[in-house]
Symmetry: C2
Subunit: 205 residues, 2 copies
DNA sequence: GTCTATAAGAAGATAGAC
DNA sequence: GTCTATCTTCTTATAGAC
C-alpha cells in the first residue's frame, strides 16, 4: 500500500476511535512512519484527509455486498438464495451478515467515524442515514418483498416488516461498536430475533 | 437559574451540537454572558463541566418518566394504564412517547452529546448503553410482560418481543436527531410500526 | 517525498485587581 | 464573582534544504 493510501487507512483508524478533532496530524504521520510535514505533500490539509475517506467510501461499499455472496444490487438474483431456505439457514445467513458488518475492518471503522461526525453538517448526516438507514431498508425491503411474492413470508406492509427485521440488527450493531464485550450476547439476540421474525411473518404461522 | 447551572445548560447545548472537543470554554462563557476566566470560579476546568452534566443526568431522568404520567419505575402500576387499551390508544401512547423523547430539550441534547462521546471511554459507553438500550428494554420488557400475563399480547419470548417494539423506535429517534426534517416521515413509520406490532403480537390474531 | 526548523494562531488555564 | 492581561502549551501548516 502506498503512502497516500496508508495515510487514509491510519487516519480512518484514529478518527473512528477518537473523533476527527481529537486526532492530530502528528498522530497520523507517526502511525504511517513519516513526519507530519511530509503528510502535506499528499493532502492539502487535515480536512482533505477526512474528505478523501468519505469519497473513498462509495467504491468500497460496492465490494461489501459481493463479499457476502449476495449480489447486493440485484434483489431478484439474491432472492434465489433465499428461495428454498428453512429457518436455520435464515438464522445462519443473518448471523453471517451481522458478523460481517461487525468485524469487517473498513466497514466498522467507517461506521464508527461517521457516528462521531454525523452532526457536523447536513452532508454527513445524509451520508449516515443513507448508508445505515435508507439503503439497508430499501435493499432488504426489495428482498423481503420478493419472498412475500413467493409466499414464503406473509404481510400487507413490507416496509414495516423490513423495519422489524433490520432495526434490531442495527441497534445491536451499535451496541457492539460501543461495547465489543457484548458481542456474544448480541449474537444470541440476533439469532432469537430472526427465529421470532420467521415465526411472526412465516407462511406456516 | 444561577450561573453555575447556566454554564451546564449552555455547555450541554454546545456539546450536543458540536461535540466536546469542538466547543471552547470561550464559546460557553459567551453564551452565559461572562468572560471565559470567570467560568473557572464555578468549575475547575472544561472536563469538570462535562462530568457535571453526566452526573446531573440521573436526577433528571427520574423526572422523565413522571412527565409521561407513567410511573417509570413500577411497571405493575404502569400496566394499569394499558390494561383496557385498544390499538388506537396504543398508537397514541407510542406517538406521545416518541414525541417526548424527540422534543424534550434536555433529553434530546443529552442523547446527542452522548452519541458523540460514546467511544471516549468505557464509562461513557456504559452510560449510553444503559440509558438507551438496557434500561428501555428492561422496563418495557416488564411492561409488555404484564400485558402478556393479562392475555392482551401473546408470545413465548418477551425479551425479543420487546426488542421488536423498541428497536424501530430507537432507530427512528436517531434518524430524527440527525435529520430533524424527517420527523413527519418517522412519526408515520412509528404509527405503522405499532399498528403492525399489535397485529403480530395481539391476542386477536 | 522526506526531513528540520519554525511561523502563526488557537485554546486552556492562571494571576491579580476590582 | 467578574474582569483584563498574560502565560503556556498545543496544533496546524509553511519554508526551504536534501
Amino acid at each position: 500500500m502506498n503512502t497516500k493510501q496508508r495515510i487514509l487507512d491510519e487516519a480512518l483508524t484514529l478518527f473512528s476511535e477518537k473523533g476527527y478533532a481529537n486526532v492530530f496530524v502528528n498522530d497520523i504521520a507517526e502511525r504511517v512512519g513519516i513526519k507530519a510535514p511530509s503528510l502535506y505533500k499528499h493532502y492539502k490539509n487535515k480536512q482533505a484527509i477526512f474528505d478523501a475517506i468519505i469519497d473513498e467510501m462509495s467504491s468500497k461499499f460496492e465490494q461489501q455486498a459481493q463479499a457476502l455472496s449476495i449480489n447486493g444490487t440485484d434483489p431478484a438474483a439474491d432472492a434465489e438464495v433465499y428461495r428454498s431456505m428453512d429457518e436455520d439457514h435464515l438464522i445462519k445467513l443473518g448471523n453471517d451478515l451481522f458478523a460481517y458488518f461487525l468485524h469487517d475492518s473498513y466497514t466498522k471503522r467507517f461506521r464508527k467515524m461517521l457516528t462521531l461526525e454525523q452532526f457536523k453538517d447536513k452532508d454527513l448526516a445524509k451520508v449516515y442515514s443513507e448508508q445505515y438507514f435508507d439503503r439497508p431498508l430499501s435493499y432488504q425491503g426489495m428482498l423481503l418483498g420478493l419472498l412475500v411474492s413467493q409466499g414464503l413470508l406473509v404481510t400487507d406492509n413490507v416496509p414495516i416488516m423490513t423495519l422489524h427485521f433490520y432495526a434490531p440488527i442495527y441497534m445491536l450493531l451499535t451496541v457492539c461498536d460501543r461495547e465489543p464485550d457484548r458481542e456474544k450476547e448480541a449474537l444470541k439476540l440476533i439469532e432469537e430475533h430472526i427465529r421470532q421474525f420467521d415465526k411472526l411473518y412465516g407462511r406456516d404461522y
